[in-house]
């Protein structure tokens, strides 16, 4: 049981990867990437978790309270921002492709190859 959260991260990673490989629509592909990215949030946060620990916020708590790791939370915050940035860009390209090309199916794109 004690590895379950880590296993969730692996699960989300592989499932998202499957979605990306089989995706037939760029919007769907972007969402699958976000699922993959959430794998890293889960992994980071569960690595820093401490049994019966509180959030690392020391307002109105007695001194010496055990708290979880603040570093992984800071890292995850950055990671969330990264995911938004990437999603916004990918969706913008998806919309352009749809307009220029008439289809947002990545398999239909064949302007560069060989």
């Amino acid at each position: 049981m004690s590895y379950l959260p880590y296993a969730l991260a692996v699960w989300l990673f592989v499932v998202g990867l499957y979605g990306v490989v089989t995706s037939r629509h760029l919007i769907h592909l972007t969402v699958c990437l976000m699922v993959m990215q959430s794998s890293s949030y889960v992994l980071l946060l569960s690595i820093g978790y401490v049994d019966r620990g509180t959030a690392p916020i020391f307002a109105d708590v007695p001194k010496g309270t055990r708290a979880v790791d603040p570093v992984v939370q800071a890292l995850t915050l950055t990671d969330v921002v990264v995911s938004v940035a990437v999603a916004a860009l990918l969706l913008a390209v998806a919309m352009q492709v749809r307009r220029r090309h008439g289809s947002a199916d990545p398999e239909q794109l064949s302007a560069v190859k060989g």
Partner: protein, 607 residues
């Protein structure tokens, strides 16, 4: 002054922010001037960092959070000459791109400048950072900037497809990196590379270490463009605007390789110290495969930018072999090679840019003989092709000599001959293209080359009268000259080897970063190259000329020979071309395969 250290990142970022904030109020041309001045200033700063770090690293703790009792609690930049010279390369090439791109992108106003400056800052930060997560942040910043810059020509499908393939593969690469770093953090509770190394070196290799290393390696190899992670690279570089290609091809790919050295020596060299021989075989194996695939695919291209993209891939293979020798000479030689080659490749891309600008096309066959009217481009292209072919003693020769010697040191005496084959393939292909475009040699059609690309749409946004010739030709010529002359810097290879030794001495490096204990200044090891590197260089140049002739006049060979080889080679060629399908699902499947295979091999090695 140590306070120079953050500036290669901070100066371009502030300039980018100022340009973005003031976009509406700036007169046209002012943005060009600001961007150019910023890139030039960054070049000077990064070069000063090289000079200041000659004898010992500059370790800089942001926010003043120096380590407490040997425990890093902040983020450090670790400036050593090899890294700083790559940062300087990035800044100089950005400067050249801004000169070349003067008034080039009027349609989008300052957006282009802002993104290029941010991209430059990201590359500087990535190369100088000594913190694993901080490297990830700059990795992402590079990806975001490059994504937008590659997709710049939104009016046609090809750039959008190239941008998608770039973004998806590189974003997945960043997931590999962040998963690897999370595993490392879970084990060591540290993000500083030297701190990680200290904890890991006391332990054995187990599943976590193996998997984390494989994930980090895989992630950075995607950025570098090693087989089988390279598919995005040719799609992206073929469609990006020329000034962007300069930065992508001549710097960004090499940064991925640099990052591998950056994590291996401080963090992983202790724990893998018993497995160096096997790791060497792995790295050299991937390197040779990458070199061959890149070289072969380059030969099949007629779109000059895509051709250069495959040349880039082939050279990444060479560099990977060099780093993968795991010696000080190998690392030093690779870095010198990367620097010289970076200037040359940038010059070649700019030459293609001149062709596109002057003749409205970047296709080898359609341009046949038309390049006679572009003498400057011809000089740059021929010169660059010969430098890529390895003509001694110019350009990358110093780095090449170090590689030859290093391969000998570790019992890989056969490797230089194989790597020289890479120079034959890439240099020969470039010479073929140059002879066809500028001299009109060779046939008008060649069915072996990939399908005809659509007419190039890369037109600058301004009419031709607005770009003056010095701005167009100056950067290409200057870069070519610098690249060719780099090997004449006195004592370069000895000094570079000394820097590499310093970087590879893990305990001393950790003491320097975490405790501020400066290592003693060591003397440069003896150099002296012998005749072998000259022999390889001359042979590869001659053979490249022969290979170019083969490319041009292949169809005049006797029919019997042609039919025989065609029966033998056509199926594998078709398969190789078919693999580069341009479909993102395929690429991601290969990415998965690559990381799984890497992990499997590293697991076998470290068992």
């Amino acid at each position: 002054m140590e306070s120079l250290v953050p500036l290669p990142v901070v100066v371009p970022l502030i300039a980018a922010a100022v340009l973005a904030a003031g976009a509406r109020w700036l007169r046209r041309g002012v943005d060009d001037a600001i961007a150019l001045a910023t890139a030039a200033a960054t070049s000077v700063i990064s070069t000063m960092l090289v000079v200041r770090s000659l004898d010992h690293d500059l370790v800089y703790w942001f926010g003043g959070w120096t380590p407490r009792h040997g425990l890093a609690i902040g983020i450090a930049f670790d400036v050593e000459p090899l890294a700083a010279s790559l940062a300087a390369l990035a800044a100089v090439l950005a400067t050249a791109s801004f000169v070349y791109g003067w008034r080039y992108f009027d349609e989008v106003g300052t957006l282009y400048h802002v993104l290029m400056l941010t991209f430059l800052a990201a590359m500087s930060g990535f190369v100088l950072s000594g913190d694993l997560f901080n490297m990830f942040v700059f990795f992402e910043l590079m990806t975001v900037c490059a994504f937008a810059l590659i997709g710049y020509q939104v009016h046609s499908t090809a750039p959008l497809q190239g941008a998608i393939n770039f973004a998806v593969t590189n974003v997945i690469a960043s997931f590999f990196v962040v998963t690897g770093l999370a595993l490392v953090y879970g084990r060591t509770g540290a993000l500083n590379l030297d701190q990680i190394g200290r904890v890991l070196s006391g332990e054995g290799t187990d599943g976590l270490v193996v998997v984390a290393f494989a994930l980090l390696l895989g992630g950075f190899l995607v950025k570098a463009g090693a087989v089988p992670f390279h598919f995005w690279l040719s799609d992206a570089y073929a469609v990006a605007p020329v000034p962007v290609c300069v930065l992508l091809s001549a710097v960004m790919s090499d940064l991925g390789l640099h990052a591998i050295g950056r994590i291996y020596w401080p963090a992983f060299s202790g724990v893998f110290s018993g497995d160096v021989d096997a790791l060497r075989a792995l790295f050299v194996g991937i390197g040779v495969l990458t070199m061959l695939v890149g070289g072969a695919m380059a030969f099949f291209q007629r779109d000059l930018k895509r051709l250069l993209a495959f040349v880039t891939i082939s050279q990444v293979g060479v560099f990977l072999c060099g780093i993968g020798l795991f010696t000080a000479r190998g690392l030093a030689g690779t870095t010198l090679y990367v620097l010289a080659d970076g200037f040359v490749k940038a010059a070649l891309f700019l030459a293609v840019g001149i062709l596109v600008y002057r003749l409205g096309d970047g296709d080898e066959l359609r341009l046949r003989g038309r390049g006679r009217n572009a003498p400057v481009a011809a000089v740059v292209f021929f010169g660059g092709a010969f430098l890529v072919a390895g003509v001694p003693p110019f350009g990358s020769f110093e780095g090449w000599s170090l590689l030859v010697r290093s391969a000998d040191d570790v019992g890989y005496g056969w490797l230089p001959a194989v790597l020289a084959l890479g120079s034959v393939l890439t240099g020969g292909t470039l010479l073929r293209a140059a002879a066809r475009v500028f001299l009109g040699w060779g046939d008008e059609a060649d069915p072996l080359l990939s399908a005809e690309p659509p007419p190039s749409e890369e037109e600058p946004d301004v009419s031709s009268s607005r770009i003056s010739p010095p701005l167009l030709f100056g950067p290409a010529l200057a870069l070519l000259l610098v690249g060719a002359a780099l090997s004449f810097t006195p004592q370069l290879s000895g000094e570079a080897t000394r820097w590499a030794q310093r970087f590879q001495d893990r305990p001393a490096h950790a003491a320097e970063v975490l405790a501020g204990r400066l290592p003693p200044v060591s003397a440069a090891p003896p150099t002296g190259t012998g005749f072998a590197p000259y022999g390889f260089g001359i042979a590869s140049t001659v053979l490249a000329v022969g290979f170019a002739a083969f490319g041009l006049y292949r169809r005049r060979l006797p029919a019997l020979v042609r039919r025989g080889t065609a029966r033998l080679l056509d199926p594998p060629i078709a398969v190789l071309k078919g693999l580069h399908s341009g479909i993102i699902g395929d690429y991601v499947a290969w990415l998965t395969f690559g990381v799984a295979a890497l992990g499997g091999v590293v697991a076998l090695i470290a068992r």
